[in-house]
Symmetry: C2
Subunit: 594 residues, 2 copies
C-alpha cells in the first residue's frame, strides 16, 4: 500500500521536476497534534507516531523520528521502502545532509511552505545554499497525490463568554495593539490557532482535546481580519467581530492579504508559517505579543481554573473510590475500563467539554513507557499489587485540568516505595519553592530532581509545561526544565497567573512507572525592600496515595506540606461529596506521622 502511494507521490514530484520532498508532521499553524487532513506523513510512510519527518527522494525515502518511537517505527516501516532515521544517533545524517548527499547541484527540493516555520525555512535555505538547491514551497504535492485525503475540519465556533475569559475582545485588541505600537509595528499576523482563539474569545472543535478552530488573523492599527470559512462562525462571535472592526475573510485569503501590508509587520520566526513570513514585505521579527498575554491568566481565569479543579477533583476522587471498591469486590477492572469510567465521571461534572488530552492509564511496567498506548483489543487487567498510573485532565468551561496520580494497588517493592517517595519529595519541593520576580523554570527545576539525582536516578522529560485556558493543555512560554533548549521557547520569566504543571516521575523499564502531577499557578508572595517575590498556589485538589510512602525518607517540612495539602483538599472538596464519599476522603487525607 505504502509503495503504491509513494509511487504516485513520485510521479507528482517528477511532474514538477522535484527531486526531494520534505513532509513534516505539521499543519499550517504549528499545532502540536494535527488533524487527519494533515496526516500526509502518516499516509505516505505508514508510521503512526505523533512526531516525525518523511523525506522522499527519487529512489529512496527516510523517516526521521526520536527515541520514543524507534521500536514502533521500525515495525511500521517494514516493507514500505522508507528507511528509519533514528534522531539523536551519531550515525544518522540530518535531513539536510541526507538531501545534500543524494540530490544533484541545482536540483529542486520541495516542501509545503505553510507547514514549515520561518525559522526552519531559513535553516533549510542556509543548508541548501551550499549545493545551490532550489527550494519550492508553493506546491502541495502530498495533496495532489492523495485522492482520498480527509477534509479540513469545519466545526461550528462558539463565543467563549467574558464571564470565563475575564477580558473582552475589545480589551484584548487594545492590549495587543499597544504592544504593536510599542514595537513600532503597523500590523501583526499570527498563524497560531490558540492565539486566534484567545484574541477573539472564540472556541470550536476542530482538533480532539484542543477546542479551537483552524484560522489566521491579521491585525492592523485600527482594523483586522479573521481568516475562517464564514459558514463556521456562530452569530454571537460574528456580531462581536463586526463590532470590533474585524472582517471575516476566507481561510486562504490571508496569503494574498499579507502581500499588501505596507508598514512593519510584527511576526515571530519560530511560530509563523514560512509562506506568510516570506510574503510579508517588511517583517519585524520579535516575540508574538499574544503568547505572554495568554499565558498570564487574569483573576477571573485563575478563579475559573480553581473551580474547574474542584469539579475535576470530585471526578478523580470518585474514580479512586470506585477503583478501590471494584478491586476489593474482586470485579475485573482493566486499564481500558478504568479509563472509560474516569471519562464518564468527568462528563457528569457541570460545564465539562472534553478531555484535555487522551488519558494515560497504565498498570505496572506499562507505566514505564513514556508514550504508552494500550492495545484496546486486549485490555490489561489491574492486579492487587504494584502501581497504577493515571494521567488525565479535562476542559471545563471555567478552566483546564491535568493531573497524574500513581495509585498503590496493594503490596509494592522497596524499590517502588522509595522511588514513589523521592518523586513526591521532588514534587513537594518544587511546589513550595518561592522565587524572586525574574526567575525561570530553569532556576526551579532542580528542586524537583534533587531527591532523585541524589540516588543517581532521573526522569527523561521536562518537569512542567504551561497550560492554556480552554486551549491547548501544553502551551508556552512558561515551563519547568533544567536544560537550556532555545527552540522550545518554554523557559520564560515566570509571572503572576501562569499555570504550569509540576510532574516529576521515575520510570524503570520492565518494572514500574511513577509520576505525581499537580497544576500550579503563580501568585504574589511578598514585596519587600529586597524585591518582589512570587510563589506557586496549587490548583489540583486530589490526595496523593500515602500508602506508597517511606516516611523515613521524608523531612518534617515535606510531611507538614503534605498534611496541610491534604487538609486543604478535604476542606475544599468534602462539601461537594456525598457523606459516604466525604468519609472515604477523610481517611485518604488523614495526617501522616513518622
Amino acid at each position: 500500500m505504502i509503495p503504491n502511494r509513494l509511487q504516485l507521490l513520485r510521479q507528482k514530484m517528477a511532474d514538477h521536476d522535484i527531486h526531494a520532498l520534505i513532509i513534516p508532521t505539521s499543519d499550517f499553524h504549528d499545532t502540536e497534534y494535527v488533524c487527519d487532513y494533515f496526516g500526509a506523513r502518516k499516509h505516505f510512510s505508514g508510521f503512526t507516531g505523533s512526531a516525525g519527518v518523511l523525506v522522499v527522494l527519487d529512489d529512496q525515502a527516510g523517516l526521521w523520528t526520536d527515541g520514543r518511537y524507534f521500536i514502533q517505527a521500525a515495525k511500521e516501516l517494514q516493507n514500505t521502502g522508507v528507511d528509519l532515521m533514528k534522531m539523536g544517533m551519531k550515525e544518522t545524517p540530518s535531513i539536510s545532509q541526507y538531501i545534500l548527499e543524494n540530490v544533484k547541484p541545482g536540483q529542486k527540493v520541495a516542501f509545503d511552505g505553510r507547514c514549515v516555520s520561518m525559522q526552519d525555512f531559513e535553516s533549510y535555505q542556509k543548508d541548501f545554499a551550499d549545493k545551490d538547491l532550489e527550494i519550492v514551497t508553493d506546491l502541495d504535492l502530498a495533496g495532489e497525490a492523495w485522492p482520498d485525503r480527509p477534509a479540513l475540519p469545519a466545526s461550528k465556533t462558539f463565543h467563549y463568554e467574558d464571564k470565563y475569559t475575564g477580558k473582552s475582545v475589545e480589551d484584548k485588541l487594545a492590549e495587543v495593539r499597544a504592544i504593536m505600537k510599542d514595537k513600532g509595528a503597523r500590523s501583526h499576523v499570527t498563524s497560531k490557532i490558540d492565539e486566534v482563539a484567545w484574541l477573539y474569545n472564540l472556541r470550536a472543535d476542530d482538533i480532539p482535546s484542543f477546542p479551537v478552530a483552524l484560522a489566521y488573523t491579521l491585525l492592523t492599527e485600527n482594523g483586522g481580519a479573521l481568516y475562517i470559512d464564514d459558514s463556521r462562525l456562530d452569530e454571537v462571535s460574528r456580531k462581536l467581530l463586526e463590532d470590533n472592526g474585524i472582517e471575516i475573510k476566507p481561510y486562504d485569503a490571508i496569503y494574498e492579504d499579507v502581500e499588501t501590508l505596507e508598514g512593519p509587520v510584527l511576526l515571530e520566526k519560530d511560530f509563523i508559517n514560512s509562506r506568510i513570513g516570506r510574503a510579508v514585505k517588511k517583517p519585524l521579527w520579535d516575540d508574538n505579543p499574544i503568547q505572554l498575554l495568554k499565558a498570564c491568566k487574569n483573576p477571573v481565569e485563575v478563579d475559573g481554573f480553581k473551580e474547574a479543579h474542584k469539579r475535576d477533583a470530585v471526578a478523580v476522587i470518585k474514580f479512586w473510590k470506585w477503583l478501590e471498591e471494584e478491586m476489593a469486590a474482586g470485579h475485573p477492572v482493566t486499564e481500558i475500563s478504568a479509563r472509560e469510567h474516569l471519562g464518564k465521571l468527568r462528563q457528569e461534572q457541570p460545564e465539562f467539554l472534553e478531555d484535555s488530552f487522551e488519558t494515560i492509564a497504565a498498570y505496572g511496567p506499562n507505566a514505564a513507557m513514556a508514550h504508552y498506548h494500550p492495545d484496546e483489543e486486549n485490555p490489561v487487567p489491574l492486579e492487587a499489587h504494584g502501581f497504577f498510573l493515571v494521567d488525565s485532565g479535562g476542559h471545563y468551561l471555567p478552566g483546564t485540568t491535568d493531573i497524574t496520580r500513581t495509585f498503590v494497588m496493594g503490596p509494592i517493592t522497596d524499590e517502588e516505595r522509595d522511588g514513589f517517595t523521592r518523586v513526591l519529595k521532588g514534587h513537594i519541593n518544587l511546589a513550595k519553592a518561592v522565587f524572586m520576580k525574574g526567575a525561570r523554570g530553569l532556576n526551579l527545576d532542580l528542586f524537583a530532581r534533587q531527591p532523585l539525582w541524589a540516588e543517581g536516578q532521573d526522569f527523561n522529560h521536562g518537569t512542567g509545561h504551561g497550560v492554556g485556558a480552554m486551549l491547548s493543555v501544553h502551551e508556552g512560554p512558561n515551563g519547568i526544565r533544567w536544560r537550556i533548549v532555545p527552540e522550545r521557547k518554554d523557559s520564560c520569566v515566570l509571572d503572576v497567573g501562569m499555570v504550569t504543571s509540576d510532574e516529576p516521575g521515575l520510570y524503570e523499564e520492565g518494572k514500574f512507572g511513577i509520576r505525581h502531577e499537580n497544576l500550579l499557578v503563580v501568585a504574589p508572595y511578598k514585596e519587600t525592600e529586597y524585591g518582589e517575590f512570587l510563589k506557586h498556589d496549587v490548583l489540583t485538589m486530589v490526595p496523593f496515595d500515602v500508602r506508597g510512602l517511606n516516611l523515613d525518607l521524608m523531612s518534617d517540612e515535606e510531611i507538614d506540606w503534605l498534611n496541610n495539602y491534604h487538609k486543604t483538599v478535604y476542606d475544599t472538596i468534602a462539601p461537594r461529596l456525598s457523606q459516604k464519599e466525604a468519609a472515604w476522603l477523610k481517611e485518604k487525607t488523614a495526617p501522616i506521622h513518622r
Copy 2:
C-alpha cells in the same frame, strides 16, 4: 587639578580633530583590576572606584559608573567638570546616546582600540553608524596628555613548576592545537594574561594579587610566539619556550604579526582586544580554547588546592583564636589591625605568595557595604557584640584560596541570628546539591537563595565565581548565579575540576552584613543507567561560628551536614596545630544539637 588635566587632554583631542574620547577602565588584556599604567580614567576624572567609563567631549564630560559607587563618585567628581552618569537609572543616557546627542554628523570619536574588546567595538560601530561618526582607535590620547604616566609593570617572570600545574607546556600546547584543528583554525591569538600564564606555566608579579605578566600569545599549528619584553623572562621559562618552538618577541610586536596571518585565526569576540581583532584578515569567532581547559583543574591541581586550603585553614583558625583571646583580654583590636594580623599568619604558611585579593575586614554595619574600604587613618575598633565579617584569601604555590567567615563577637539580635542561620542554610544546601552532567550554576543557585527568599530577603550579588589556580581569584566560565547574564559568560556547564565559591550573604544597611563562603570543587558522584552525576567537594577547612545559629530554623539534614563538615575540619587540620590550638578547634567543631 582635574580641570587642568582635562584641558591638556582636550588640546590633544583638538590636535587630532577628535570631538569625543572614550576612556574605559581597562588594560590591553581585558583584566578585572588594572595596574597604574592603565589609570587614565582615574587620572582624568579623579574618580578612584574600580569600575567606570569616562567620556570627554569638547565642552563637557561624563563618568558612567554603577550603583556601588554613586555616593563616592559624586563626592570625587565635585568641581572637576565631569558629570556623574548613574548607570541603571532610567534618566541616564547610554554612552553612545550621550555622544550621538552632542557630536555633529561625520565628526570623529576616539578610544584606544587595545582597551576595548572586539564585542564592544562592534557595538559602538553599530551605534555610531546612524550619525556617520568616524571611529579612531589607533591613538593613545590619554597617554599623550599624561606626562607623568606610571611605567608599564615589568616584574621578573618565574617558571611555575609541573609539580604544581600537573601538565607540561608541551601537553598544553598539544591540547590547544587539537582544539584549533577541530575548529578549522590555523592559528589562535589570546590577549588574556591568565590564559598566557596558564599555557606557558609562567607566573610573575605585574598586578597585585594576580601573579602573572602582561603578555600576548600567538599560536600556530607548529609554532608561535610569546609577546613580552625579553629582559623580563627567567631562564627556565626561556629555555622551555625555546624547546617548544615558541619565539619570544617584543610586547608590541603582536600587532604587526597578526596582520600577516593567512589561515583562519581563532578568536573570542568578548575577550580579544579590538585592535588585534580588526587586524586579523580571517577571524574565526569562537570560544577561547584555553578558558575551559584552565577552568577544569587536573588531579594534581585539585590536590594542590586541597593542600593550599589546609595551610590557609591553619592561618584562619589561628587568626580566629587570636581574635577571641585579644577581645577577651580587653586589648584593642581594629578592622585594620585584625586584617594585618591575618595577613601575617598567612605569610607564615609554606609556599605562600601573596593575598589573592585585598582582605575585607568589616565590623558591624560596615559589613553591609558591598565594597567597603576602611578609612586607614581612623581604624574602626571591634566591639564585643554583633558580627565581624572577614573575606580573604591567599595564593599559595599549590593553589588559591578565598574564604569568608562571619564571626560572632558577643550578643547579637534575633534579626542577626535568623539572618546568619538562613544564609548558612543556603550555603549548605548549595554545597550538598548533586547534579547531572549538563547542569549549570543557573540551575543550582536557588538552593542558596531559597531560605532567604522564603523571608523576602536576598543578596544582590552572584552566589559563586570561578577561581583560578595561582591566577585570578575571579575567573570564568563557571559561576553560580540565577539570572541569565550573557555578557558575563560565567554560566557554563559545570564539569569535574572546576573550582567555584559558595558565598550567599545578607546585608542590612546600617545594621549588619553576613556572608558564609567556602570554595567547592566539582567531583564525580555516580554513574548509573540514568546518566553521569557530579557533586561538589568542599575545599575550605575552617569551622563556621555556630554561636550565630538559631537551630530551630535548621533541618536535621542541615545540622548533620554541619556536624560532619566540622568533624572533617577537625580531623584534617588538628594535626597541623599545637595542642592548645587543637583543643580550641575541638570546641569550635563540637557537634551541635537542637
